[in-house]
Symmetry: C2
Subunit: 390 residues, 2 copies
């Protein structure tokens, strides 16, 4: 089958084997935060009384759609109505539905590499072609010029897709970049798709420019992908959403939604408690991640041969390592290297590139551990790089 | 977009409008049972203490895989190991993964019409072609002869797929039918896919012949699709599974599974309590459905012009009505017809056929209401058929 293995998860069997031998793994490979889910959501489970556990509605459980409307209005987008929202089973399903909605098999979607590796899975499932445009560490993975992007637009191109803030690079796109993409999409009649799962995770006082800012101007062409997984530490709750003012897409994704019946009822009721989450919950989460980002950046840049730019958002960064093949190195860390019976798991970056051969000396690191564990992970990485022989 | 509307759900807006006007709807349109979920599962929510709600593993949460193994061993299939099971987000995802795993875009899968309408959605999403072979009410929707099936096998055919017991017909396939399909699949090197979501819902003392009985003989070619939705009244929990001894398929669906990260953590923990569900839970459920089946069958066959065979399994039946277009009739019931401010919602059967024009005077009825409500629904239907003018 033509689905590639997930770079975040392909080494899980090695990690499992190591754990069986009593080894502690510091997981920098996957964005599964240790931050607590808001207590009010856990309480919704503890107070659960609905029985049977019936299907939810295909577009989304009404109470959850209402909560999402509340959220988007609160962050300033009061034009979003419930009819513009399709609840999805994780941000993952929103990606898949979007690819299906905007492209026929063989069509192309432009992405900027390195990009979130699972876009590959959905491209494969929907038989569409991702056309990667390279961005580079030295420019903080910001976008190339308009003309360079335009060169990649063909008569098969249906959309330009970004992740903002970016998983895996931590890049936060600037207003002029967003303007440029909007112009390009308007000019070439393309969909402008933005995955904004990490919207709130923007550091150093930067402002996040959402694709929602362009939605009223380009109602037919803009699609927002979103998820609660990171915002409320709800990765295991499998709740995302697809938002657009394009009525045809609304209707089409609802038909796909009907085909899979519904997203999880319990998850949606639990998550609808987001209306009761206090603002200081997210302020603390934000502060914690900025601190972790600083710990990671300061620690890594001191290691000889290691190179990274300071990430501005999300909780990932791409790091260049002094190794020939980061895949071998990541595997070796799991199978052979331990300090105090502890090792580090990272995602080899090659899986985040569409162009074969790129990213071979890079890893993606998710800084989702507390500062102490992060420091320990950096120390292990530093010593591993001394001992490792390509 | 090429996804058809769900015949079970396309009239939801009319139902919603009727409900807003105070009309009670008796839902015979969708298999969303009113049977209670086992209390031990609800208690698992009430006792929930895990925080954060982290990702589950892509293949399935270990405790849930263990519970599934327990279940299959208990029903007599002790050869099934955890590595043969992929947990899916509802039976729906198991269908989609299977189509993707066995067929390339343009390939064909043989199904017997009428068939579960959502197979169409997944065929569309995966760009494969369902080749329907007609079965008929008068033979209880049992299979045609081997040679009639063979006529439809082309060099693009990759699989034969059944739902057993069948949604939407209630047919339970006989041993000789299962033998015949297994032989055909072996002879023509096809996958034999069986959706057995309703395995336990078999009435009148009939024995269900599972595709699992053929799995050890044809380890490479058999795929079982399953779900907990109906068995434990967990429709809203979105948990299914794909089971095969074919290692390549196991590995491939796991890669798709990794692409969508995981199924819901809470749902899986809750459902893993199936190991503690007492046998009498299902005995009572079974008895209740057989009673409902009898109420429905006895009631409907007395209505002039209505024709149905006694369904043997699942909780659906296809019913021929004395109307020209059941779609118009079903819509009219929601928009115009009430008795004591109550009406009936059914699924027009045309959406369950692949061949255009078939099933136009049929509906699919799900007998998921208690006997009193079922009797009321039958009464409403009888009077509606008298008043209705095509």
């Amino acid at each position: 089958m033509k689905v590639p293995a997930s770079p975040m998860r392909k080494f899980v069997p090695y990690a499992t084997a190591a754990k069986k031998n009593g080894v502690k793994i510091l997981h920098l490979n996957i964005g599964d935060p240790d931050i607590k889910t808001p207590e009010v959501m856990i309480k919704a489970l503890n107070n659960w009384s609905q029985n049977p556990i019936r299907y939810s509605q295909s577009q989304g459980e009404p109470v959850f759609l209402e909560a999402l409307k509340f959220y988007y209005h609160k962050i300033g987008y009061e034009f979003i109505e419930k009819k513009n929202i399709q609840v999805t089973t994780g941000g993952s399903e929103a990606i898949s539905m979007t690819f299906f909605a905007v492209a026929e098999p063989g069509d192309e979607v432009i992405v900027f590499e390195p990009f979130y590796a699972n876009y590959n899975s959905y491209a494969a499932v929907n038989s569409i072609k991702l056309v990667p445009i390279k961005t580079e560490e030295k420019t903080g993975f910001h976008l190339p010029t308009k003309s360079e992007i335009e060169k990649k637009i063909s008569n098969k191109t249906k959309a330009i897709m970004i992740c903002n803030p970016s998983n895996p690079t931590g890049t936060v796109y600037l207003k002029q970049e967003m303007d440029m993409l909007a112009e390009l999409c308007e000019k070439h009649n393309l969909f402008f798709i933005s995955d904004e799962v990490y919207r709130e995770f923007v550091y150093d006082g930067m402002k996040h420019i959402s694709v929602l800012d362009y939605m009223k101007k380009m109602p037919e062409k803009i699609i927002l992908l979103d998820s609660l997984s990171k915002r409320y530490s709800l990765c295991g709750a499998r709740l995302g959403m697809l938002i657009t003012l394009n009525k045809e897409i609304n209707a089409g994704v609802l038909r796909i939604g009907q085909g899979r019946l519904s997203s999880g009822l319990i998850d949606q009721f639990m998550a609808s408690k987001l209306t009761e989450v206090k603002d200081d919950y997210f302020q603390q989460v934000h502060k914690e991640y900025q601190k972790r980002r600083d710990v990671l950046y300061e620690g890594l840049k001191k290691i000889p041969g290691v190179y990274l730019e300071k990430p501005k958002g999300a909780f990932y960064t791409i790091v260049k390592l002094p190794v020939k093949n980061s895949e071998d190195f990541c595997k070796w860390l799991l199978t052979d290297f331990r300090i105090d019976d502890t090792t580090v798991m990272m995602a080899p970056a090659a899986g985040f590139y569409g162009t074969p051969g790129l990213g071979k000396d890079e890893v993606r690191i998710a800084y989702i551990l507390n500062s102490d564990d992060l420091r320990k992970a950096i120390e292990i990485l530093e010593r591993a790089l001394i001992e490792y022989r390509d």
